[in-house]
Symmetry: C2
Subunit: 158 residues, 2 copies
């Protein structure tokens, strides 16, 4: 029914809290984004740890990505990623056609400015989840048409 709602509402509170408590105002945006990303990172690590407790070892990187798109995404957002693409050279694009954490943002044009702060936590979440499985990555996100959203993962080879 509203299974993803508690997480969504809490995420929204966190966002507001971080932005309100920042004293340097606008210029601090980068720092706020980083805080949200870090918070997501730790949540992602912990969640992946718990989700894979009884899971068989993954075959390869693609197998890990499929797990993120299905099991991990469903655990957090109560739906799967709608589309997964890769160039087979360490870049993966995960598309969510109805990204829950954007649903409180109106579909007007101002979302273009606001979107990054609604996506930062989840970028960290994915990076943390992968990190827990020994995969180092850089994760960025962009809104295509609201509320669709693409997360790009660049694997960092050690």
């Amino acid at each position: 029914m509203a299974d993803e709602a508690p997480f969504q509402f809490l995420h929204n509170e966190v966002l507001q809290y971080i932005y309100k408590s920042a004293e340097n105002g606008e210029t601090d945006n980068g720092r706020n984004i980083a805080k949200l990303e870090n918070m997501g990172f730790r949540v992602g690590q912990g969640l992946m740890e718990r989700l894979t407790k009884d899971t068989a070892r993954f075959k390869d990187e693609l197998d890990i990505m499929k797990f993120v798109c299905k099991d991990f995404w469903t655990c957090v957002f109560k739906k799967q990623i709608d589309n997964l693409r890769t160039n087979h050279q360490g870049i993966y694009v995960l598309q969510d056609n109805k990204f829950r954490l954007l649903s409180q943002l109106s579909a007007g044009k101002q979302y273009l400015e606001q979107a990054p702060k609604y996506l930062a936590f989840t970028c960290g979440l994915v990076r943390g989840a992968l990190s827990n499985l020994g995969v180092k990555s850089i994760v960025t996100a962009e809104v295509s048409v609201m509320p669709a959203c693409k997360f790009q993962i660049m694997i960092q080879k050690m």
Copy 2:
């Protein structure tokens, strides 16, 4: 499987963030508790709003409490309240025998000091949920035997 985990991990991050970002240290504990309580209040309001969208009107106060114990608690914590008591004069005690947000706290004796910060958000959550239904209350909590926990609700008559 781990349906309550995203919320639980995020709650834990919020806790750590608020306590880390408080600069006045120990003496600020009351203010941190208040911040958590307020955050819970807003989440509770929003959640109750969403949960009761298509619900029939409640008969009375007790009917509201039962909804909090069953539907609301299940939405957030993936389990129901184990025991509801009332003195029929505006005091209700909700007991959760395995309160999720305490599960990351060890069962040692130091929990007695730590417990209030793990309970503050949920006190606010209940207060906010009731407030959304027009019921003004004061909510306090205490740990009996870890991880069992009692929430006491005192209805404030207008």
